[in-house]
Every structure is written in C-alpha cells, then in structure tokens.
Amino acid sequence: MAQKINDIQLLQLVEAAIFAAEKPLSRAELQATVLEGFNVSAKRLLQCLKQLQDDYSARGIQLMETASGYRFQTRPELSEPLARLWPERSPRYSRAVLETLALIAYRQPITRGEIEQIRGVSVSSQIMRTLTERGWVKVVGHKEVPGRPGLYATTEAFLDYFGLRHLDQLPPLAEFAALQPAEAELLTTVGMTGELH
C-alpha cells in the first residue's frame, strides 16, 4: 500500500533529507529512509536529483554526488570569503623564527647555512617556510657554492608590516658586523673597509 507522492513533494522531501542529513545520502539510503513507503522508481529519483542539481546550479551551494552519496556543498569560488567564518589563530612565532628573520633583515642576502653559523644552531626548513609563507622573506638568488643554497632577503611586505620605507631605518647594530668573522677579515684584507660606509 504505497503512498502517492507528487513531483513537487518528492523534490521537497529529497532536498530536505539531503540538507538535514549529517553525511552524504546515497539513492539507496534515500529509498530506505525518507522515501520508504512511497514506491518511487529509480528513474524518478534520478530525475528528481537531476532537477535539484539544475535548481542549485547558479546558487551559493550546489548539489554534488560524492562516492558515498549526495550532499550540498558551498561553491568553490566562495571559499575565500567563507573562510572568515572560521578564523584560526596561529601560535606566536618562536624565538628561532624571530632570530632568523632578524638575521635575514640585517645580513641579506644570506644563506640558511650562514644563518646557522651565526645562530650556532640549525635552522629548520619549517622556520624558512614560515617566513616565506608569511611573505616576509624570499629567495633572491643562489650562492654558487656546492649545493647552490638559496640566498634569502626580506621583501617589501616585510618593510610594510614594520612600517619601514628602507631597511636602513632598522636600528643600526654596531656590533653586528662582528658576527661574520670571515667576512670582516676579508674586508680588512682588501682594505675596503672605509669605503663601505
């Protein structure tokens, strides 16, 4: 004693079921739950789902068929503004990140190896990635030594963030040059020290 259901009622019911279910609903699940007792043919259900897909084609959400069934999902183009509904605060930067950034700012262009030499500890790829993804540092070239390590420099975004127009607005660190012994020696040797100021 199957109940009758007209096309509009069928559409409403299938639509509501897919929206209300916590997970994608397959056609078999629709038949076994909300459509139980209505005797809706497979063809009719398919038509109904096609109709729903059309109805939502120009809307903010779309009816998608995934491996486990049908579900509504937001348009991919809207992901960026929708992201603001779920802001995630990332943790503060570690000391290592800040020291690396400071060294790149003052000693650019500089390789990761040179940073490690000065800091006296290894610099993880994660640190370099953090700074690169933030858009504060970038690779501006490669040092022509074995392994061709990347040469890091700060970006305009870095200056913008800290409200600087030029790097030389960073406070001078008189002692800083002393940290590169090899270089300091070289400079002394070639007698160009004076001219560098």
């Binding site: 992901s79 800040l98 650019q108 022509e144 420099a153």
Partner: protein, 273 residues
C-alpha cells in the same frame, strides 16, 4: 491524559455541581481500584495540585467557588487508600491533606468578618494556587506542541567546498621583539666576535638583495648601467656601486667586460660545475 485514567472509587453520591450555570449530576462509580492502577495514577500526576485539579475537573466542580467539603472528602479517600496499600506518598500529598482539612474546619467556624471580603475566604489561597498551577500546566502543554528542532524540523546544512581552508590569523610581531631577538644573537655570539668591528649600511645589503632579484628576473644578465637608478641621486648611485662590489666580493655576481671600454655586464655567478 485524564481520559486514560482508570475509573476512580467514589464512595458517596456526588453533589450537584454547577458548571457555567449548568447543573451536572455525576453518578456513583465503581468502588474498586486495582492497586497497580493506583500506582499508575500516582505517577500520572505532577503532585497534589495536579491531582486536585484532576478531581475538580472530573467532578466538574467550579474552581472559583470550590466545594471544599466534597473535594476534601474525595482527596482524603484516595490518600487513605494509597496509604492502606503502603504506597510511598510524597510528603506534598500529606501537606495538601492537612491544608484541606484546615480550610474545611475554618469554613465551619462562624464568620466574623464581612462576607464580601474575598481575602478572608479560607479557600482563596488554595484556589489561587490551583488557578496558577493550571495555567502553567497548560503553558507546558502549549510549549510541547510548539514546532521544535529535531522533532518538527531539522537544521539544513551544507558542507564546505573541497578547496575550503580556514582563515589563518597570523601572529603579530612587534618591532621590539625583532630587535631583542637580534640582541640575543649578538650576545650569544660574543665568543665569535672579531676584533675588526665593521659597520655596514643596511641600505647596501638591501640593494644587494634587489640586484640579485633583478638578475633573476633577467635570466642572470644585466647591463652594468641598468643597475643604477639615476633618479635616486648621488647617494643611491654610491649604494648601488657598493652593493655590486660587495656582491662581487661574496662571489655572488661577476663583472664582465669583453673588450676595453666595452659595456660592462653584471652576471650571476655560476658554479664551476
């Protein structure tokens, strides 16, 4: 709910009751109540007020002009019956029994005050409480039929597109944090410090980065003159020149001149391999 209750014991003919001016005569009912029915009865009521209301409605008494004698009698019969059957009665039922008995006795006393004063009607407080309870009993029923979530409707939700990623709020860095990080390095590296203390303009280092960046964009090859931006003035030219010298010295670039007086080119240094 009341309709589903078992028939109640009535041990005496009911008095005539007037409901909206209409006389109603209830006939005596069966005396016997099975004990388990009484238990169901107790569970059905939300306390003595609910039970009293049931009795009042069942016998079509007028709540405002409550026939205390009759209702007390009815109430007592049930209570006694339940006690005889050793049902554990909530204390509230016994308190109500005492209250009814008190009202009844006060009604028997000769009235001293003027009769039209409602406040001195010993029934007034009980009637008020019954009325009040009945209204909230009704409100609870009304609330229950309101369409509600998870029963009458369900929240409609859509999943997020596969390319969705939450907005990452990046940590703020204070300028002083950067400086203090640098100071730490300086302190830690004291041991490495060289006697020759060099002080270099940061603008030179910045310019070094810029030239490298430009070289990358130009496939590693630039005319010497292209490195200079004459609008920057003398100082800019000097900074650029120093930067090129420094880059050459660090073997990051090579300067190439194919013939005397020919154009000088700046070229990204290539490894020997």
């Amino acid at each position: 709910m009341a309709e589903q209750l078992p028939p109640l014991t009535i041990q005496q003919p009911l008095p005539l009751a007037f409901v909206r001016g209409e006389a109603v005569l209830e006939r005596p009912e069966d005396l016997y109540i099975p004990p388990d029915a009484l238990e169901v009865l107790l569970d059905t009521f939300e306390g003595p007020l609910d039970f009293l209301l049931y009795l009042i409605r069942k016998h079509k008494f007028d709540l405002v002009d409550l026939p205390v004698n009759e209702i007390t009698l009815q109430y007592m019969e049930y209570i006694e019956l339940m006690q005889e059957l050793n049902f554990e009665l909530a204390a509230e039922y016994l308190v109500m029994a005492a209250m009814l008995a008190e009202i009844k006795s006060r009604l028997l006393l000769p009235k001293i005050t003027n009769l039209e004063d409602d406040e001195h009607d010993p029934r007034a407080e009980l009637v008020r409480r019954l009325q009040e309870y009945e209204i909230f009993k009704q409100a609870a029923t009304d609330l229950d039929v309101l369409p509600r979530d998870e029963r009458d409707y369900f929240t409609a939700q859509a999943s997020l597109a596969d390319n969705f990623s939450p907005l990452l709020i990046l940590p703020d860095v204070d300028f002083t944090e950067l400086i203090s990080a640098l100071n730490d390095i300086v302190k830690r590296s004291k041991a490495l410090a060289h006697h020759h203390i060099q002080r270099e303009h940061l603008s030179t280092r910045e310019r070094m980065s810029r030239i490298l960046d430009l070289l990358q964009q130009r496939q590693g090859y630039l005319e010497f003159a292209e490195c200079f931006d004459l609008t920057e003035g003398r100082e800019g030219v000097v900074v650029t020149f120093l930067a090129i010298l420094e880059l050459t010295k660090e073997k990051l670039v090579e300067l190439i001149q194919v013939a005397p007086y020919a154009q000088i080119h700046v070229k990204l240094a290539l490894s020997e391999a």
